[in-house]
Symmetry: C2
Subunit: 190 residues, 2 copies
Amino acid sequence: MPHIALPEGLQGIRSAMAFRPETAKPLNELVEILLHAPNSLSPGERELIATYVSSRNDCYFCQTIHGAIAAASLNDDEDLVRQVKTDFMQAKISSKLKALLVIAGKVQMGGKHVTEQDVADARAAGATDMEIHDTVLIAAAFCMYNRYVDGLATWQPVDDALYRERGKKVAREGYVQMSREYIPSETPTR
Amino acid sequence: MPHIALPEGLQGIRSAMAFRPETAKPLNELVEILLHAPNSLSPGERELIATYVSSRNDCYFCQTIHGAIAAASLNDDEDLVRQVKTDFMQAKISSKLKALLVIAGKVQMGGKHVTEQDVADARAAGATDMEIHDTVLIAAAFCMYNRYVDGLATWQPVDDALYRERGKKVAREGYVQMSREYIPSETPTR
């Protein structure tokens, strides 16, 4: 049961966002830019970074929904998503994405764990400064989203079909658009 | 030296925000709502939560600037800020804020560390569901900001006077207003 009186019937972060629409707005805008907006890293690659970090933080809701969005963005390749979570070095992904996942894993432990060598390796594999920046911020942001979801003990039903269906919708429409379904009303623009 | 080519002369998160104004916008809006906007928890109390979490994450920039903003909001009581970082149970703060700091410390370790008892204790000390929600999200958000600042190895000069002066300005004007100084141009509203 959630630690506070969250709206019922909404999974994971959606219940917390419906409870507090004012903070939901920047939280959705941030994830929209980081994972869905046009970028030299594909949506699938960025969703894999988010899924990997959420898996390391042991957040069931986030690793499952972002794993489903990643799969929906990657020809429904659920095996690839599982492989990235368990041993990404053996996964069929680019050496650039592997180097970025190393950085993401360091950020998950704490920002100071990222070394100059980690960054040099990512650059040698073709990563740009913007891609390194976005990887650090995606990993950092999921250390927030994961703690938000679990720190309130949100309802997280175990139902693969539900996450799979939702993943396809978010992959198609994005976060800000989908959030209109469960956030009561637009908060005024500042 | 920063891991990527961040603009020079800007400390900590400001250099990263100037590098990527698109993500700076929701990052500033989030911290504005959490720490500066009207709330039943005072700005000083919320800044103490942010400072405490940043201290636990060993982020020099964040604990110093938010410590300075907290002090500026609390009659310049820098001793109180130090006491909260080192042993908040002995600090001259309310029992409600102590119970919320316990929750914030748990969130810093990971969301699942927060127990029903922690939440019951906060409620018994007078905390509302909204205050518990905001405490969880402030703690989670600083697990992001701290990792963003240190994961990019941003420039963090050691200069108490600089942070003290900046702290007074942010306490007065807020985050979104101050960010206009170092973010090149407004990004278009979505």
